[in-house]
Structure formats: structure tokens, C-alpha cells
Amino acid sequence: MNAPISTRSALARRSFLGLALGTAATLALAACGSGAPVTAGGAAGGTVKWGWALPTSWDPVFSSAGWDVHDLSLVYAGLTKLDEKGDAVPALATGWTYSPDGTTVTFKLRTGLSFSDGTALDAAAVKKSLDRGRGDAKSLVAPQLVHIKEIAAPDPQTVVLTLTQADYQIPNLLAGKTGMIVSPKAFEEDAAGLASRPVGAGPFTLSSYTQNAKAVLKRNPGYWDASSIKLDNFEIYPLPDASTVVAALQSGQYNVAQIPGSQVAAAKAAGLEVQVIPSLVVAVLDINPTKAPFDNPLVVQALKYAIDREALLKTQQFGFGDVSYQPFPKGYVGYDAGSADLFPHDPAKAKELLAQAGHPDGVELTITTTSAQGLPEQLQAQLKEVGIKTTIEVIPAAQATQIIYIQHSRALFTDQFAGRDSAPQAFQVLFGEQGLMNPGRSTPPELKAAVDLVSRTPLDSPDYPKNLQAATALAVRTMPNTFLYSVPRILARQKTVSAIPPYTVVQRFEGVTAP
């Protein structure tokens, strides 16, 4: 019925409509931060739905983020893997032996191994896969493999690596992305396809993948350690939004998820289990010493003293983690106790150093970041107190790899280092001349020598911890990288999922059960 309406009621209705529109638009805006719609119900038994992060590529040779190793470890296996503490243990290989001078390492493979595409995983396949990582012109793992001179496969169960120098880190190195064995058939037929259709011999196989949305994996019955994998299915989702992660866990959208420190109390209150797993991840500022004002080392020193790391840890992490001046967390073999309180918050000293550097009236600086909220804002306020005037430059996360890791065109970038499988590998990434996080592209010769000594020291030698810690101590005193605090892996899970084993370096899911 279209009854005539009086002017007055029409007016009232329109006024109400106007208000309602304003309200609705505001509410829609408020809801912008919410994540994907909640999916109803749970899937079949034995599925972990992991709110974590999707990889930059499923091809270990071209994956450009250290973080990807957690995802890639689900579909690939290496000759070795890391145990919970970060030491190399046998995986596809049953063991390895070094020659007395440390320049040759021989791996013995398990028998009857195969890739998920059905082809045999023998010594010849291992050689082809590792050679691709070393030889491909665009390989991102090649710098890690420079100590390998030659790979030989004298019989189907034996792989012999001849090295350019003694390097006892090879078993650790091969446990990560660097050593993931890819099916030669897959990369010979369609190398580009590996980025979205990985073929390995890991605990799971990727059955469907939608970029930026979801990866669905199925248990691989052919995995060498398949009896330890209790899950039938595994789903990986992009990093959940802080504001919705607890609700998404309660609703069953995820049953395990990475949460920020700010959500720990809420997750516990919601009846979820929370695990704080120490990890190798550390918040760090990538400093370019070839860019002003950091071309004067005294300014770098001033920066290191100007930062109040305790305050950063408290606000950014809600206190989860530790203040850190070095790349390794307390308890890791490379942790140097002598650098435990290397650059305490000392604004007076920072000002003094700035004055010595010729900036008694302060200095200007640009903080480059992918998100201005949080750490950059707080750094800006802390640096202002010592006279460092900063502007915050936000670059799109999608361009950060290009701008920061390839062009090295910024003076200061707020970054996180995800840790590496081997300590010298971590040094290479952070401080090496080709290191992604060394924008200055130079390394002092004494640091190179110290890292070299670490590589030459057998891991079971009593000198190993001493040599590694000496390299750490030297690096944090000579390099501009400014470490802030360690970032533990905080996983919240539904009670129906069993405890997640606390792996320091790469998260693994052996023994985990889920409904």
C-alpha cells in the first residue's frame, strides 16, 4: 500500500534515515578491522587449522622470507632436521660422517624413500635438488651453499659433499630451506609451477592453495616418519588480525593461531590454551651505515643508547620476550653473556655521542616501516628525547623486500629477524656482505674471520660455544644492526588440540593431535 504520507512524517522518516545511514556507515567502518567471515562447524577428524602466515613462494629456492620455513617444512623434508633445541638430527638421512679434516661430509639415505609425485628419492635426486639451489642464477639459497664445492652420488643411498673448506655447519644448514629436497621431475618439467604446487617428501602434501587466503594440506603416507604424524589434514591461513584472533579461535575458524602479546590474557579468559615458545625471532633495526646520518658511527652508537628497550618490550609485546642486544636469545649456544647489557638506555650518553659526532643540536632521520602504528611511533618519541628528530615513512609491505633487501635504499628500517637453522647462516644474513639485512654491504675482516672460525669448529668441540659467542660479541660491537627484543612464538589453541612441541627454530607438528 502506498498511502500518502504527511510532510511531517516523511520528514521524520528521512531524518531517521539520515541518522541511520551515518550510523550504519560508521559501524561498517568499525567492522573494517574484522577478518574473514566466520566459517561454521568443524571439519573431519585430525585437522589443524593454523592461523599463521602463508609463504612468499612454495619453492624453497625462491622463497624470500625467513618466516616461510615453517610452512615449507610441512611439505618438504631435508637430509636433516632440527630438534627442539635447534641441533641437527637425522631426517631423510640416517646419519652423516665428516672426514677428519672437515672438508668432506657423507650422508647415508634411508631406503625406499619417494617424493609425493611417486618418483624415487635417492642420492641422484638429492644431488640434483641441491645443485639447483647452488646453481640457479636467481637462487636465494645459493649464498648459504658457497662452501660446497661438489656433490656426488656414488650409490643410491650415499651423498658425498666435498667442501671448499672445513665447515661443520652443513647438517644444520641442510635442515632448513637451503636443504629442502625438491622432486627433480617437478622442477625439470615446470620449475615456475613449484611456487604454488610444491613437490617434496615432507609430512604433508599441498592439495589446494589460494594465494593470500588458504593452503590445504593432506597427510603424506609416504613421509619417512609418517607414523609420528597424527593429523590427516592441515590448513594454513594468513596471519590473523589481533582484534579478531581470539574470537576466530573460539568459533573454530582456526584451532591453533599465532597471537600477539596483547591478546594473551583475552585468550586465556576465553578458555584457550596459550603456549609461549622461545624462538630465534628478534626485533631489529636495519641500519644503513652508508646513508646519512649513520655514515658517522658515533650516530649509530647514539641511536643504540637512545632506545629504551624495556619500554618497547612492555608496549609492543606486553612484556613477552626479553630485551636483547644480540641476534640470539638467552639459552641458545650463540648467546653471549658478555653482551647482555651492552647498550643500556642512557639518553645523556646518546646526546654526548651526538655532540661528538658534530650534531650538538640534534639530527634528522627517517624511520622506514610497513606500519606506522606502534614501534615506529614509540621510537620516534624516544629518539626525540635525545634530539634525533624523525619522520616516519610507511612503505607497502609488498614492496618492502624490493626497497629494503634489494635496493638497500633506506637509512633505518624496523624489521624482524626470523633466525636461521645454522648460526653462521644467521651471521651471513645479518652481517654478511651479501646479507639481506646488511644494507651497508660491508663486513669488517675480523668479523669474517671469526665467523669462518665458527664454521671450521666441529659442533661437538668444546671450543664451539666459545668461538660462536666470540663472533656474536664482535658482531654486535662492530655492526650497526640494532637489536631490540626477542619475539617468542605465542600460540593459542583450542583445548581439543594437543600441546604444540616447543621447537625453537622451525615449528614442527610431530605427535600433535586435533579433532
Binding site: 510532510t7 520528514l11 528521512r14 531524518s15 539520515g18 541518522l19 545511514l21 551515518g22 550510523t23 556507515a25 560508521t26 559501524l27 567502518l29 568499525a30 573494517c32 578491522g33 589481533a242 582484534s243 581470539v246 600477539p260 596483547s262 591478546q263 590474557a265 583475552a266 629504551d308 619500554a311 612492555k314 608496549t315 606500519s371 606506522a372 602504528q373 606502534g374 615506529p376 611511533e377 614509540q378 620516534q380 618519541a381 616516519i392 610507511v394
Partner: protein
Amino acid sequence: MRTLRRTLRLRTARTALPVLAAVALLALFGGALAPQDPLAQDTAQLLHAPGGAHLLGTDYLGRDVLSRLLAGTGDSVAGAVEAVVAAMLLGIVPGIASLWLGRVFEWVSLRAVDALMTLPFTLFAIAAVGVFGNGLHQAMLALGVLLSPLFFRVTRAAALGFTQAQYVQAAELMGASRRWILRTHLWSKILPTVAVTTAHALATALLTVTSLTFLGVGVQPPAPTWGGMLASDLGFLAQQPWAPILPATLIMLTVGALNLLADAVRDAGAAGTEPARARTAAPAPAGRPHRAGPTEQPAPKEQADAPLPA
């Protein structure tokens, strides 16, 4: 002026105007009224509840929320005003000019306006920021370009009716200049229509500014804005579930008041403008000599130029 007086008599306008006046005051003097430095961090007072030294509590860096809300009004409102002023300049002037500058200009400007109307506000502003660098001016001028078709269409449609009114044609015949006609006959008549459009456009622009700052485009932290505060508050819902209500309420009240005002002006103006339009369209009253002619008929092709929903 008559429309304005009629508007003030409406209850909705009397509700909306004080709200808008208060927002305008905050936009101008909010920074000075702020009880504390909106940027001062205090890590000893993170995410405090309202009370004591902080009337509305503190945020995730220990900053005073009340001070940030007051200081944040300026940027949010100034952005919306900048976009609408740009849209008025880009829309009204060509809108009126298109009546006189010949068929080619008319055709070109109408097609350009049609093309601009297909673009979404937020995406276009983000693209502009991507090309010209991150800043509120870049985003707002881009938004102004996108809002200008609204003013173009509305002004043109309103003016088109009046140019065919007999008294305008009489003035033309008596040799009045276009400027004189524009000033004396047209401008005061289309002003209420422009006022309605402006209020609606301000509401739209304010929501877009808020969306952009919510996304960190235009104004970025630590500078306070309503949208930026809403975005950061959502990350700490577990600690302060009520916090997003504060900036959201301000946004809602302002946008709602602008929409109410637009409605009120339209309702007040309807009495003044619609009969005028009806006079041009209606046949001359019986009893007088009926003067038939093509100029009597409003051009049917322009019906598509009716005011568009904001």
C-alpha cells in the same frame, strides 16, 4: 535567506546545527582545548581506564585519549572541508558554464563527469596517494575530483530550469549580461540546492577521510585522527572493549548531523524552489493569451540531470 530562515525553524536543523557548531569549534580550537599533549607517551600508564588524570583513559602508548580526540578533530574535518571545497570549484563552475559554452563543451564535460562517477572514492584516493606520495592534501584533492560530478550535475540541473524561466529570458531580451543574470536570477535560486549537496558531500567526505585515516592513508600515526584512533583501538579490544566507541560516536554524530541538516535545508528549500520550477513548466493560466513556442517547454533530454543521491 528565506530558505535559511525556514531551515532554522525546523526541529531537525535546530538539532543538527549545534552539533556541527561544536564540531567546528573543536576543529578550530581542539588542539588548544586538549588538557594534555596528545603525543606525550607514558609507558607507566598503558591502556588505563577513564578516570583520574585521564578523563577518557589512555591508549596503547599511554597517551591521553581525550586530548587525542580533541586534537584529532582538526585533521579529520579539515580534510573533509578541503575535499568539498575542491569539489565545489571543480563542479559548480563548469556546471554553470556548460549551459552557455556550446554543445561541444557540454558534451565533453558531461562524458567526463559520467566517467568520474564510475570511480570508487576510497580506492581512487589510495591510488592518488600511491602516485603523488602519502599526504592528506593528495588524498583530499583526489576525493574532491571524484565528488565534483555531484556538484556539476546538481548545479547544472538546477540552473537549467531557471535559464528557461520567463523572467530570465525577459532579462536576456532586455540586454542583461550573463554575469548579471547569473548573480541576480540564478545564483540565489540554486544556492539552496548547492547547500543540500554540500552538506551531503561533507558527510560523504568525512566518512571517506575517516576510512582513509583508518587505513593509515593521508594522516599517519602518531598524529591523532578519528579514523586512526578507531583503527588502533581495535587492536586492543581485549583490554578496552569500549575504546572504539569514543571516536566512532564523534564520527557518527557529525555525519548524522550533516545528513539531518541536508534534509532540513532541502525540505525548507522545497517550498521555494519547486513552485519556481513548476511555474516554468506549467502552461500559462487560462484567460490570458496563450503564447505557444518552443522555449516554453523544458528540454526533456535533461531529465537525466536530476540531483543524484549522495
